[in-house]
């Protein structure tokens, strides 16, 4: 539920004068995103999203995020396009916050995605990886393996409040992954948070990817691992291999995974599950009771960590024999 900063219509109209968007006719705070304040604008020219970047976002990262969206949209990826101001800048200031106007993407995120949607997501993810190859800016992934231990140290002492034995299990998991995390896989710009609520569909057609505010440079296959975690498990915790197969073959129809990437997939998937477990655990323990924020259950990701730990071969994710041994 994200509207942290209200704006007056006078300030907004003055701010919009620098953009080629026509005259403002309405603006509504929307309950999307948790890091920023988002407004849906209607103008005489159409619909737009206005984002005010709140303090949780490092302002130094904004040129990377906005530049990336612009770069990807220019290469034909369907994603929000930041609009340039009259001075050519993608970023302005409103109500004391860095602010951007981005194109509005029609479409809806799927509360219950099916295998065919997983295939579309795999395809779009690969297309993003390909389109991002020549993006010149760099941003490290603060939530990759090197970031997990500091995050864990903030929650470790209280982890057993959530479930007995959690402290030891996660400590062991973390050490295991730190010791074995890959070093030489193909890298590039990854989305790093391509959950179902960040992918829009119109009917069964994927209409766009949104929310690039975790995007960074990292292993491309790690992004695939994030999607396996976020798209291919059922509510009951079981892995749906049909969805996994669809996602992976969709991805490979655009970009072929290397043999090294295929081999690393179980480890990357364990790492991705741990990453979301750790941020959810932290939020779970730190959010004051009564706060009107949806706390996501970290234990959903404990189940996934355990699933990945038991994987013997990447074929179990749904890679065909031919793909798995590529």
């Amino acid at each position: 539920m994200a509207v942290y900063t209200d704006i007056t219509e006078d300030d907004l109209i003055r701010f919009l004068a620098a953009y080629d968007v026509g005259a403002l006719t309405s603006y509504k705070g929307i309950a999307e995103g948790v890091e920023n304040s988002n407004f849906l604008l209607h103008t005489t020219k159409g619909s737009y999203i206005l984002t005010l970047y709140e303090r949780r976002v490092n302002a130094d990262d904004l040129p990377f995020f906005l530049g990336l969206m612009h770069h990807l949209a220019e290469r034909g990826l369907s994603c929000p396009l930041p609009l340039p101001r009259a001075d050519g800048e993608l970023l302005g200031e409103l109500s004391g916050r860095p602010a951007a106007v981005i194109s509005f993407l029609e479409g809806m995120w799927l509360r219950k995605p099916e295998a065919q949607h997983c295939r579309e997501v795999g395809r779009a993810l690969a297309a993003m990886h390909v389109a991002g190859q020549d993006f010149p800016l760099k941003r490290a992934n603060a939530l990759s393996v090197a970031g997990w231990r500091p995050l864990w140290q903030n929650s470790e002492a209280r982890a057993d409040e959530v479930q007995a034995g959690l402290k030891d299990e996660i400590a062991a998991e973390l050490s295991y992954l730190e010791a074995r995390w890959p070093k030489n896989l193909p890298e590039g710009v990854i989305h790093a948070d391509l959950f179902p609520d960040n992918v829009f569909f119109l009917g069964d057609r994927l209409s766009g990817l949104i929310d690039f505010y975790f995007a960074c440079n990292d292993f491309l296959a790690y992004d695939v691992a994030v999607c396996l975690n976020s798209w291919c498990f059922e509510k009951n915790g079981s892995y749906n291999i049909t969805k996994g197969m669809a996602l992976l073959s969709g991805y490979q129809s655009v970009r072929r995974l290397t043999a090294e990437e295929v081999a690393a997939l179980p480890l990357l998937a364990r790492g991705a599950a741990l990453r979301f477990f750790l941020t959810r655990l932290y939020d779970w323990l730190m959010t004051p009771p009564g706060a009107l924020v949806v706390k996501k259950d970290p234990l959903e990701y404990l189940t996934k960590i355990r699933f990945h730990r038991a994987i013997l071969s990447s074929a179990e994710y749904g890679l065909t024999r031919q793909e798995a041994s590529a």
Copy 2:
């Protein structure tokens, strides 16, 4: 910040099939209203608001609210129009909640209204009172004088936590108003909550009134008193007589206040200020710390109560001598 119930796109598309709104292209939860969940829909035919009525709203009142909006819109008042379903009903059910689709009004509410806007609001309020005269349904005002003592009894014991002396001052105020509350003023359907965030403007032109979920039958002049409280005070607590004059003359350009209404205005304004003081006090004391809800300061309305208590004649609100002695 109001999205209490999420909806799946499948359920929504099925629900919308009963309406003549075209094909859904997007829906976003919006941070407006505190009683209900509201979504802004885009379809191939335009923009709409979808409201899911949450448990705080009495479902028995919904035919009154929706029927009233329909009645007023038919008589030319610019307000949201509930769309009929294929079966002619204005109300359906979605995600286990009563739900309605209403027309989207372009416009913005003014964070800093000026006198000219107060005149427009006065005019629109009177137009609503006139248009509501032949609305057949009735709804008692649960937050009029008879409702204040029960409300007060929930907060009384802790009132001095907010400010020393509050308990005695409000008890005296309540008794005073109960003893003198008018009995025979012109009645009709009132909005009862026409604060600036419920009035939209496009430029300086009023484009619509929204949020009829406190509407009820009561003294028409009480609605004027609510608006004097909510539109004509400055942030520093002072009454702006220029705004008061504009609001009252705007109102009277459409519907003339009777001599009895004029005479009762200071008392009605005290009562209206007490009503908002009491609900704010209750929310202030009951909202858990840390909850992401904007708690409105009840003391803003204590200042207003005291202002109205010192009023000797309705002329002090900005009625011209001729109007005040009508």
